[in-house]
Symmetry: C2
């Protein structure tokens, strides 16, 4: 049509292949919704590891970078969104297991086991999300998954401890401590392929439950 005359083009040096049209093609932003983009990101990270670029993610989603940016924001926002989704899924699955617990200690054990299990199942995604971002928002980033997870614990712990007269801030501290312990043991466990999950679960549960107390009520059961 009218675009056949490039004489007034301002970029004469940029020659693009004749068969490759620039600009708007089909696919009118219909399947570029946030959910689709995030799902594609998860898919690629799962199979290609944590080193994927935003461009690669966009390509995986069948879109280009600006579309990805419009849909989910910058890298920080992407990691945040993925963290929320992963935390949500983990929470649902873990809570289902925890619901069947026979005691509070058993609930903790199921929580630990479920966390380890899910982290390994989603290894790459878990690492991608917890890796954080080096830079300014780093502090925020590191606490991203922790915040999300800790909120859930906080409510439980607060309720759990409310009958004992503890001040509410203890719930927050304990939540982050719990998440940190879980996370670091998980990282170690993901690295050490040899350690048995059941044993690790038992030890970590033991730590969190009875602490370093010299004389636990029932004696140390880890052996």
């Amino acid at each position: 049509m009218k675009a056949g005359n490039p004489s007034s083009k301002r970029k004469p040096q940029a020659v693009r292949p004749p068969g490759r049209p620039a600009g708007r093609t089909l696919r009118d932003g219909v399947l570029a919704d946030r959910e689709t983009l995030l799902t594609a990101a998860e898919r690629l990270i799962r199979e290609a590891g944590t080193g994927v670029s935003l461009e690669a993610i966009a390509t995986e989603a069948g879109v280009t970078k600006p579309i990805l940016y419009r849909g989910v924001g910058d890298r920080h926002a992407l990691v945040y969104a993925l963290a929320e989704r992963l935390a949500q899924r983990m929470a649902v699955e873990v809570e289902r297991d925890v619901a069947a617990a026979s005691s509070t200690e058993d609930a903790l054990r199921r929580l630990v086991a479920g966390y380890l299990q899910h982290a390994r199942a989603e290894r790459n995604l878990y690492l991608y999300v917890t890796a954080g971002v080096t830079g300014d928002g780093q502090l925020e980033q590191s606490l991203l998954l922790a915040d999300r997870t800790a909120q859930q614990f906080a409510a439980g712990i607060a309720a759990f401890r409310s009958t004992h007269g503890a001040d509410p801030e203890v719930a927050t501290v304990w939540s982050f401590g719990l998440v940190g312990a879980l996370h670091y043991v998980t990282l170690w466990w993901l690295r050490e392929e040899t350690a048995d999950q059941a044993v690790v679960t038992e030890h970590l549960t033991d730590l969190l439950w009875s602490g370093m107390k010299l004389e636990p009520a029932g004696g140390p059961k880890a052996d």
Copy 2:
């Protein structure tokens, strides 16, 4: 040894005079030893934050990038070296406090308090070192400081628990759990400027000592 003479710091100019030299000038790799480079890196990170580039670090040290690479290796190696130094310093200071403890629980409390204290004093450096590196060596990186710190705990815990017949792997798991809890609570505390260090210390100590046990020996002491 470190007859450091940083007063004669030399900044590379962007433009060089016509007959004037690229290539070798004076300074025959004498003050570009590893220690000097690492110290300069620490200095810059402390004052400029965690977002400093390797080029900036090299400039701070009065050298150029290749010299920095020859001295300490790539970014990964730099972070690793800084982590070791920081962990070493923290360990020394904390252990001095712990040595004066009146009981095992008091030792743990002093450990927690010292960790928090030092982390805040070295805030930027602590964040830089614990941030890790996104990419392939990510898992290694995340566990960097943890490894270093956990080894020290492991020995103590192993000895501590050996009289109770626990298997040795429990020491490792507990170490990483302990470090993870410390780290995440520290991150949270560094973000929340409001929380009082003494209170946080008490809560975290409480968690690690008596765990989530329903009935701690003396009731909750967080008041």
